[in-house]
Amino acid sequence: MMNFIKSIFQGRYILGSLIKQDLKNKYRNSFLGFAWSLITPLGLVLIIGIVFSKLLGQPIRTFIPYLFSGLIPWLYIAQCAEGGTGAFLAAEGYIKQTQTPIEVFPVRVAVVAFVQMLLSLAAFFLTYLLLDVNQFSFKMVLLIPALFIWLVLGIALSVGSAIAHTLVRDYGPIQSLILQGLFYATPIMYPAEILKDKNFAWIYQWNPFYYLMEVIRRPLMGQKVPDLIHWEVSLLFVGAIFFLSVFALEAIGRKIVFRI
């Protein structure tokens, strides 16, 4: 644990430089560049908004914010977990040539995804402002601790999948399938009540991602404060997978070089 933090601190300049490169690369050779980070989610809102309101008769004003306050965090989870699988493999040249702490590479994936999530959230708030300015409230301050939990979550997922996929190359495809399944099993696109009404409440009650979702979604929506149980389960789950993946990384350490 202390070693992990020490290594990240030691490699902080490298980490910063790699993250800067990644963010720059994302929109290299693009005319609008960084603006796409805002435009893409806004465009999605427009498309999905039209589809759901015209075809399915959902009320835009409440449905759009609900959908996007769930979708943006979920995309972050997927990006951390999927991106993590290649974190060590893509850094082969660096790992085999320099003493750069290997912890830097999965953390790089998570932080880049986190910055992109923040940009998407800015687009979310912009839309929300136009749709329903009355929902803005002080409850949104709780977003700060929520984001912190989510940052640690992203790092844990990325470190974990980086180790797992480097050791066993079947991990990546399996994880993709699990994520796909979790996407539908977690109340992201639909409210949890739907499952409850059909006596499937256990599906979300036993799903830690439901609690994590509530922790970030409620402050985003500004209507309700997350319940204590949401914070508790989130902290417990994130703490557990963070310690587990960091512990695994410390146990394997530089030996990972033989598996790349």
């Binding site: 490298i14 430089s17 690369n25 040249g93 040539q97 320099t98 350490g253």
Partner: protein, 247 residues
């Protein structure tokens, strides 16, 4: 005070036998051969005990596959020892396999910066050196474009210029570097020589007995992952050569 200390150091590569689902069905019909893959291990370094102190200029000779490069990479902290203890004090620079480890989409300038950081510089110190590195590389306006457009020679120049600019205390050198064209090679050799004179410890893998005698004051002959002989360069290289000419 710089030193490198190896105590009973062993390095074992595990060769993974790749098992695919189809093998489970096909293996029954196939005659297994006793290959390395089946054995599953390469014992690259065996019980190495060695202390290298400030002022030592250590040359390493031996046939291919003797463990020379593994030895360098172990000291460099890239490969962890499988057993035994390795302690190193001093700032290390390594020169081997120069042309990998770049951000392909980033410019030459950005790559100088990043590589400098990875070699243990801080943003401040690398900024002070960036001009000098750029000048030495002679890449000029090519530094402004992404390195994915570089030729292999240009990669070499870039990597060499950064790696040799950081003023290490310990220099690990694998001779198999040919940096760029003839003109650059002369310059690179000069810089290498001055660097080899300046550093506190030099570990130098070479196949040239001349450079061994010129640059080193002690020498190891490695064979099959073990130190077969250690001593004055003159003496060790003579025994090595006489053995080669016998066979």
């Amino acid at each position: 005070m710089c030193f490198i200390k190896l105590e009973n150091v062993n390095l074992v590569y595990n060769i993974r036998k790749e098992t695919k689902i189809k093998d489970l069905f096909l293996n029954r019909f196939r005659q297994e051969s006793q290959s390395l893959e089946i054995e599953g291990k390469i014992h690259a370094l065996k019980d190495i005990n060695l202390t290298i102190n400030s002022g030592d200029r250590l040359g390493i000779i031996g046939p291919n596959g003797a463990g020379k490069s593994s030895f360098l990479k172990l000291i460099a902290g890239i490969y962890p020892p499988t057993r035994g203890r390795l302690s190193v004090r001093g700032k290390i620079a390594c020169l081997f396999e120069l042309a990998t480890g770049f951000e392909m989409e980033a410019t030459g300038w950005d790559n100088i910066f990043l590589r400098g950081l990875m070699l243990g510089q801080t943003p401040k110190t690398i900024r002070e050196k960036v001009r000098e590195i750029a000048e030495f590389s002679e890449l000029g306006k090519y530094l402004d474009i992404p390195v994915k457009y570089y030729s292999s020679g240009m990669f070499m120049r870039l990597a060499f210029s950064v790696s040799t600019a950081i003023e290490p205390e310990i220099l690990l050198l694998d001779e198999v570097i040919a940096a760029g064209d003839a003109a650059f090679l002369v310059k690179a050799n000069q810089r290498m020589k001055s660097l080899m004179g300046k550093v506190k410890i030099l570990v130098f893998v070479t196949h040239s007995m001349d450079s061994l005698k010129n640059f080193c004051n002690t020498c190891i002959w490695m064979e099959n992952g073990q130190m077969k002989m250690m001593g004055v360069p003159e003496q060790v290289s003579n025994s090595y050569i006489s053995l080669i000419s016998q066979s």
